[in-house]
């Protein structure tokens, strides 16, 4: 049985002296050594700590890049190339940062879908979930502004398209767009403020992450079975069990990350961003980074006559109402996550005991991948139809299917406690066999 022990170093004289005045060591002991964690967390629970680590990696590499980067339209592109060519290991720092953004979204998307599958958003973790959605929104804003900084063609045209979305807001739309631009087009003031905000926002994210973890540590982690822990036999201390498990997961992740950094650094990017921004030359297809593609598909799915004109009429504001509908759908696709805890009234958290929800979860995951695929394609032909069906399904999943399932789904019987399925039956025999070689060693 796992032991909950205060660490020995708490008895050290200096530690006690400091701790009496600032109980930082008590805090560490409480949140790591004595923090009870469900004993049955699987590897899908690794992605929370991974997200925290990649956030730190992004901040460290970002601060380093900012030492060499010049936020001016005439110099930004060349300053990035100077980093790539003349700064010691500049290519490494930049490729880590560039691919790190993609890694951050891969991790966070897995983290979110983990939450969806195991019902981690349900009581008493609603605020924990909402803070997570806030982090996602902040990440999207940060990533978008960061992508503008190299001042390539996709930087410029992506910034133009996305900032123009705000013009769809009634009454104040144009004012907001002018404020975002710092003028009447995407230009040097835009780049300067995006750089400033891109440097600021990660620290805002850190602040929300602290609250996210704070909220987590009130009731502790959810778990694959989705029932509350019922005593000492259900939990183990976070350290050393989950610190070492997270470290192992970190190793696996770093191998995956390194394959991109060292062997395919531009695989996830768009070649057009190695062409310097040119306001007079519009790329044939303006495509956002892959992690925005599902939302881009939703944006384009809504209006009938707007879709085809998107690439050419970006500044025409021709179909204002249609555009507003698209923008509302896009933001709505995130907003719906905020109210998910109240849409899903099913008392059972984990999909393991929800035979129907489980299927709809996988369909929803496929739906999101389809949306991403459509988002990468030009808005024409069959892709428009697919995009619309997938968008309708996206909203139907949250607004219709989930509330109905909560009412009509017949859930399976829940186990009495976590330790029962973990220790009972075959599990005990397997652990006995596994511990034998350890005794010899």
């Amino acid at each position: 049985m796992a032991q909950f022990q205060k660490p020995g170093w708490l008895d050290n004289g200096l530690v006690r002296w400091v701790d009496h005045r600032l109980p930082i060591f008590t805090f560490v002991s409480h949140e790591l050594y004595e923090y009870p964690t469900p004993r049955n967390l699987n590897y899908w629970w690794n992605f929370g700590s991974l997200a925290g680590i990649i956030l730190v990696i992004m901040i460290v590499t970002g601060i380093t890049l900012a030492m060499h980067y010049t936020p001016h339209t005439a110099m930004a592109f060349d300053s990035v190339e100077r980093i790539m060519r003349d700064v010691n290991f500049g290519w490494l720092i930049r490729y880590i940062h560039m691919n790190g953004a993609s890694m951050f979204f891969i991790i966070v998307y897995i983290h979110i879908f983990r939450g969806l599958y195991f019902g981690s958003y349900k009581a008493p973790r609603e605020i924990l979930w909402i803070l997570g959605v806030v982090i996602l929104l902040l990440m999207m804003a940060t990533a978008f502004m960061g992508y503008v900084l190299p001042w390539g063609q996709m930087s410029f045209w992506g910034a133009t398209v996305i900032t123009n979305l705000f013009s769809a807001i009634p009454l104040v739309g144009d004012y907001i767009v002018t404020l975002l631009w710092g003028g009447f087009a995407v230009d040097n003031p835009t780049l300067a403020r995006f750089f400033s905000l891109h440097y600021l926002m990660p620290f805002v994210i850190v602040g929300v992450v602290v609250m996210h973890i704070w909220a987590l540590h009130v009731h502790g982690s959810n778990n694959p079975i989705g029932i509350d822990t019922k005593g000492e036999q259900d939990v183990i201390p976070f350290h050393p069990y989950y610190t070492v498990k997270d470290l192992f997961g970190l190793g696996v992740f770093l191998i995956f990350f390194s394959l991109f950094i060292f062997f395919a650094p531009d695989y996830l990017g768009h070649p057009d961003n190695y062409i310097e921004a040119n306001p007079l030359s519009t790329p044939a297809h303006i495509v956002p980074e892959w992690y925005f593609l599902p939302f881009y598909a939703i944006l384009r799915a809504v209006p009938a006559n707007f879709v085809g004109e998107w690439a050419t009429a970006w500044m025409g504001f021709i179909f204002i109402e249609a555009k507003l509908a698209g923008v509302l759908a896009m933001f709505g696709s995130i907003a719906v996550l905020f109210v998910l805890p109240w849409l899903d009234r099913s008392p059972v958290r984990s999909s393991r005991f929800r035979p129907m929800y489980k299927w709809f979860f996988w369909i929803f995951l496929i739906d999101c991948i389809v949306l991403g695929y459509v988002g990468a394609k030009p808005a024409e032909g069959v892709y428009i139809a697919i995009g619309r069906v997938a968008t309708i399904w996206y909203f139907a999943h949250f607004l219709v299917i989930i509330p109905l399932l909560a009412k009509f789904e017949k859930t399976k019987d829940l186990p009495k406690s976590i330790s029962e399925p973990v220790l009972g039956g075959g599990g005990g025999a397997a652990s006995a066999a596994a511990s034998k070689p350890m005794e010899k060693a």
Binding site: I106, L247, F262, Y267, I369, G372, Y373
Partner: protein
């Protein structure tokens, strides 16, 4: 690269990565360039030094008349086997504006290794005026700025041909199936024995194309060799570390399982 891609796609997350690939494909309504095995492709690829040197000769003898290489410095040539004296001689062939002299006048001086490659035209307008309105783009990043850049450029350089009967080719344009729209302002640049290699290699069109693409890939990714070398070490280290962490994890968890 193909094997690597296949391996990646096998991963769960790489389902999303393929979306990145298809987004890059979105721009191409053109003929796909044939795959070529380059010296620099693969996990352990390095630049063929002889090809780099020949490629520089092609760039200098053919491309440099119209296309700049403004992000590359003459000193960078020392990284690919040119001696310091050779680089000094190459740099000295151009003249660039000097700092203002004692009278405040700006005179020209010969280039030095620290200078970047001098672009053939003073500005875009001058370039367009000299090229019938077309703008020959700078080649420093061209390989990275096109999807499947190296194969695309080789296909483009060797792909000039007679247009199909139904294709109208306006004056000053040329037919090339690999160029988006199939009409390119650049005339066919490479010809059999169009240049003479200093190492006496036969200068076929294919040879020149492969050499200059190798050189331009280096110009776009001078860090490629250092990157892959470091990458192999990092991956090996991480495999070992992760293996050890797994063993530690098993031991710590032994009393819980």
């Amino acid at each position: 690269m193909n094997m690597f891609r296949t391996a990646l796609v096998a991963g769960v997350v790489a389902a999303t990565a393929t979306i990145g690939l298809s987004s890059a494909n979105a721009a191409g309504e053109v003929v796909h360039p044939p795959e070529h095995h380059w010296s620099f492709s693969g996990l352990f690829g390095t630049y063929d030094r002889a090809a780099l040197r020949r490629g520089f000769e092609v760039y200098k003898g053919v491309c440099a008349g119209c296309h700049g290489l403004r992000l590359v410095a003459y000193r960078n040539l020392m990284d690919i086997g040119f001696t310091e004296d050779e680089v000094k001689a190459i740099a000295a062939q151009v003249s660039v504006p000097a700092e203002p002299n004692a009278d405040g006048e700006i005179e020209d001086r010969p280039g030095i290794p620290a200078d970047r490659f001098k672009s053939p035209f003073a500005n875009e307008n001058a370039a367009r005026a000299a090229n019938g309105g077309a703008y020959p783009p700078d080649l420093s990043l061209m390989v990275k700025a096109r999807h499947n850049g190296a194969n695309y450029m080789k296909a483009l350089l060797t792909g000039y041909q007679e247009p199909p009967a139904d294709k109208q080719v306006p004056d000053g344009m040329h037919y090339n199936p690999y160029f988006p729209g199939q009409l390119i302002a650049m005339a066919q640049p490479l010809y059999e024995d169009g240049i003479e290699y200093s190492d006496k290699t036969k200068a076929t069109i294919k040879q020149q194309a492969e050499d200059v693409v190798t050189f331009l890939t280096w110009a776009a990714q001078p860090e490629l060799e250092a990157r892959k070398r470091l990458g192999v070490k990092v991956i090996l280290f991480l495999l070992l570390l992760t293996g050890l962490l797994y063993v530690v994890k098993r031991r710590i968890w032994a009393d819980v399982h």
